[in-house]
Amino acid sequence: MSAPELEIAPQKALRPPSSVMRLRRMGAMFPTRLSFLRTLMRDLSANNVQVERRVWRMDDAGFGHAVYSVSLGGYDYSLVAISTDLPPDLRTDRVIATAWDSAYVLYDGIPSEAEIARIVASAPKQEAARFTERDLVLSRANKSVRLFQHVTDALKSGVQPDEAMVRDVGYLMRTTAVYGNGKFGIADRGHIAARPCLGGPFAAEMLTVWLIRGFTHDLAEHVGGAALDAKLKRHLGIGNSTGLGMAPFLVSHPRLLDSWMQVRETALARIAALPTLKSAQQAKILDLAARAGRHLNEWSVPDEIAAERIAQLQRDWPAVQEMLAVKLAMPEPISAILDAAEQWFEDTQELLIALLLEPFGDLIDGLTECMANPYGAELDPSMPIEDLKALIKRDWDWATALDFESKEETAQFWYVSEAKQEPRLGLRHEEDGAKLESPLDIARQVANLATALEGAQGITAELVLKRPDLRFAVRRVQTLAIAPYGEIRDNMIADRCLPIDMLRCKLSFFGAAKFDPKSDRWTRITLCQGAPLFDELASADDWWLPCFGE
């Protein structure tokens, strides 16, 4: 008997990193069905997960604690949720706050009374407390005071809350940090990396966030003394405020970033190779395009740059829908659509790509198994200097062409603040501290490496022996050669670098939508909006860019 033949889905060429890995495009990304939340929801559904509320000790005002448990892939996990009475003057959604409306731990297993007591005492202190390896994720959230008050008042008076207000705010609470991977003594990622369903990037964090969202529903119903309409509840996701702290992650994890991007780009390349679409698939895409249009109309933000981009999307979208109606029936339709999309700006292109992936789960969902990447950046000390030079010439022209003597290209510097040990961005030519800058100046370091290599010979090991200051840049160059989507191909210290673009990229992989930038360096987002409720996991996979009431 012969071995079965491997069937590899045909695919078109991947979009080149020189286009995909530009900050402007990364800052235009949308969530897709490959995003971590979507993957988790499919896993929860496939595993027939039931959420059990084991403990509910809340006073009438909604202060106390609760425990929710799920069994997933042969392991139990529990969310311990603590709700406290927070004076308004302490409520800030910046990471530097010291008190919150609620605090959470995702616990490995079912916590005993003693463990619950430990977590109830420590979790509200967040960074100021120490945790154990049984604690997998640590988080906290503040109420959307306006909406929480309105919802509970309405329920108390026997009516459902105002639909417009639920639609516009979209969440009862927003998290201001979701810590994983060993922070403050919680479990190293290595504890769960090999476990079913929880080994994917940020899977434990996404499980935490989804459970928190369900808790906020329960809490509002408890305080209001009545049930929320399921339609409203489904629209109530969980907010999140994210700032600069998240930005360096993409730079310090080049192999992981490469995996995320390669998965998405490979998925796109696969669907681009489809010879034709069935009529049901065509109808689904047109239906999703209409939904995306309605979603755009529900997405309104005060930030000027973001608002203008949304307005442009809204202006482009009818033409996109017209184009789809024509091209979907053609041969190699997705490929034709991608070609036609070149006429629009990055945001429209990226929204269209996220949309096009949606109906093809059978073809692309399996790729999410490749999102995790256990490898770090390695140095190849045997590489001849000539090869290193050739790599720089081939892959780094975007960096070596820049003038790092100019003020514009060196305008900003990343640093870690003394006060809260959080990443910050300063103005090099106006503030002190640039001597202590964090190594996000990849482009400049590689440009310096290129200069240092002029006239050099021999092998890498000899070079970095004499010039250990170049070791970091050499490793970046060699890593990019094997992980082509691992590097953001822009100068992160230039005056034009907007950290919000890095945040948007990472958050879209989480599955975030409704980006609501508050400046060029922090943003509010909504997670889990339209996601299945605790008792709706059976039909869990059609909530890409949800619209209110659908």
């Binding site: 003594g185 000390p381 170049l470 970091f472």
Partner: protein
């Protein structure tokens, strides 16, 4: 108890604070959880006190310089197929942790005095901030009462 990730992140910052070149600090950070797993993390603080100098490589011998830099350089040469001997005063635990390239999962017991010592090195990389830079640098408002 400290997680492996905490230990590694702390040693990376401490090594940078001590002046080790970033690429070498990364190697020490990678080795740190392995050292902690065998109770040998204390040897890190010893090497952080030393001057950061590149070793020499003459007549097949890697010699002198900062021990972390010397071990890393010797390892690079060996991995590249260059015959090299290492003449360097370095603790066996540190040498093998730098060479082994295994990854371990915490948590591990770390002596509090040692942790404070590492924190002091790490603190050298922190930038004091004014209220103005705090607001501009993070770009956020202060109130969340909406």
């Amino acid at each position: 108890m400290r997680s492996a990730n905490e230990i590694s992140a702390m040693v990376l910052k401490a090594a940078r604070g001590a002046g080790l070149p970033l690429g070498c600090a990364e190697e020490l950070a990678r080795a740190a959880p392995v050292l902690a797993s065998t109770g040998d993390l204390i040897c890190v603080t010893g090497v952080l006190e030393l001057a950061c100098e590149a070793p020499s490589f003459e007549q097949g011998v890697v010699k002198g310089g900062h021990p972390v830099q010397a071990v890393v350089a010797w390892q690079d040469l060996t991995a590249a197929g260059v015959k090299a001997k290492l003449e360097c005063d370095v603790e066996g635990a540190l040498l093998s942790a730098l060479c082994e390239r295994v990854s371990v999962v915490g948590p591990f017991e770390v002596d509090e005095t040692l942790w404070v010592n590492l924190s002091q090195f790490a603190a050298k990389m922190l930038v004091p901030e004014s209220e103005a830079s705090r607001l501009a640098g993070a770009g956020a408002g202060l109130s969340d009462n909406d």
